[in-house]
């Protein structure tokens, strides 16, 4: 983050000295007082796509920067968010819990971000529409969600590239007539991961990431400028690259095993073991815009997250046990009737 003076200068309207905030609809800074817009694009914007190499054997990490900004620390979920300019809420953007103010935060420099394109109203409608389309949801859920409001926050993410030279061993099923047996196999393959998105915040789960971020276009990245986050909360990057890679291990392992299954190309692939030589690691520390809608159902806090880039929604939802039981009864009755008819007909 830049110094408070520099930030203040960028956020001050050149016409009336009023405070400016970022408007997703116009995709520029807009003065709160006189409405004068100002574009934030620069000729160097394309440089935001740049990735940075990382050698795990070389050691050494980027230096953290400590700035004098006020950090809003949530006493509920432990989230730390910052606001550029005036803070917009005394509640945590992640969990809606109460926040306390702290001075200064030690964080890593954000390299780039994708600015908001989806407005608050559109996000609210998307979240409500998502909830409205849930099968077997409680009947009162839509009303509860309609009373909740979305909060905008820039969430820290990693993008990772890597090249993997994989050697694997596995077994698969072979059928011969009525007999089945297991066969062992092994192989080698090359796998490249490109722009693997990894949440750098414990508040956004990989499942929510896979629900809202279907396409990541690095050409939409912009160099970090305080003006882009004026009017929104932002969480800074606190993970080292090694910690980011470690956080991605479980997902990478699952994807690797799935690729091995496809490489073997047989049925019943099990007992997969592999080792991989990883090279060409490149990363970016970026911020991505999301709208989070909090609601509480049956005493449990839940959230629906809307992508601030394209408005795609995904989240946590409760189920109605009675509706599940109703659907189950219908399917069970149909299956039993089919079975009864089959048995009564003397088939097989």
């Amino acid at each position: 983050m830049q110094s408070a003076d520099v930030i203040q200068k960028e956020l001050q309207c050149s016409q009336c000295a009023g405070q400016r905030i970022y408007d997703p609809a116009q995709q520029c800074l807009v003065c709160d007082s006189c409405g004068t817009p100002e574009r934030l694009e620069t000729p160097d914007d394309h440089k935001a796509e740049a990735e940075f190499p990382y050698d795990p054997n070389a050691g050494g990490e980027d230096p953290r920067t400590t700035d004098a900004q006020v950090v809003h620390h949530c006493e509920g979920c432990g989230g730390d968010v910052v606001f550029v300019g005036a803070s917009l809420s005394e509640r945590c953007a992640y969990c809606d819990g109460p926040v306390v103010l702290r001075q200064g935060d030690s964080a890593f420099e954000t390299m780039a971000l994708i600015p908001y394109r989806v407005t608050r109203d559109t996000a609210q409608a998307a979240a409500e529409a998502w909830v409205g389309k849930r099968f077997a949801a409680p009947s009162d859920l839509a009303g509860i969600v309609a009373r909740a409001r979305v909060a905008g926050i820039y969430v820290p993410f990693w993008t990772f590239d890597s090249d993997e030279a994989v050697e694997y061993w596995a077994s698969y099923t072979v059928r011969r007539g009525k007999r089945t047996s297991r066969r062992r196999t092994s192989g080698q393959m090359q796998v490249s991961f490109n722009d693997l998105l990894v949440p750098a915040s414990p508040h956004v789960t990989p499942l929510i990431r896979d629900g809202i971020l279907h396409e990541f276009d690095p050409r939409r990245l912009r160099p970090f400028r305080p003006g882009y986050i004026a009017g929104f909360a932002a969480e800074q990057h606190h993970q080292t690259v090694a910690e980011g890679l470690a956080a991605n291990e479980a997902d990478k392992d699952l994807l690797m095993r799935n690729k091995i299954k496809r490489d073997v190309g047989k049925s019943g692939v099990r007992d997969i073991r592999y080792h991989t030589h990883t090279s060409g690691i490149h990363y970016r520390r970026i911020l991505l815009p999301v709208w989070i809608l909090h609601y509480t159902y049956a005493g449990r806090a839940k959230k629906v997250v809307v992508c601030g880039i394209d408005g795609r929604a995904y989240g946590e939802r409760p189920f109605s046990v009675w509706k599940l039981a109703g659907y189950s009864a219908l399917v069970s009755a149909a299956t039993v009737l089919f079975g009864l008819a089959w048995g009564a007909g003397g088939l097989l």
């Binding site: 896979d210 997902d251 699952l254 189920f319 046990v321 599940l324 009737l337 089919f338 079975g339 009864l340």
Partner: protein, 104 residues
């Protein structure tokens, strides 16, 4: 008519049991449906949410298999014979169960 009371009660009990067992299966079915339509194809979340879908098939096959015995019993009035005649069907059901487990 009296000989149908046993199979009818057994069929009813089967519907009740299958309904109770089916509640988490329907929940899984909804989650699989949502994952297929809403999660990024091939992503880690997509793979995790789809894993375990075969239990839905096991539930339906088990329910159907038990119902076929009851149907046979109701038609012939011979429960022991119905069970004996279901062995071949059971083998086929087990083959399908094994195939589902392999595909999951």
């Amino acid at each position: 008519m009296e000989e149908l009371i046993g199979p009818a009660l057994a069929g009813l009990a089967l519907v009740v049991c299958a309904t109770a067992v089916g509640i988490p299966m329907i929940r899984k079915l909804v989650m699989v449906h949502e994952a297929r339509h809403e999660l990024r194809y091939g992503s880690a979340g997509f793979l995790r949410n789809l894993a375990g879908w075969s239990v839905i098939g096991f539930w339906l096959l088990a329910t159907w298999f038990a119902a076929t015995i009851i149907g046979d019993w109701g038609q012939t009035g011979d429960l022991d014979g119905a069970i004996a005649r279901s062995w071949l069907r059971l083998q086929i059901v087990l083959e399908i169960v094994a195939a589902l487990a392999q595909a999951d």
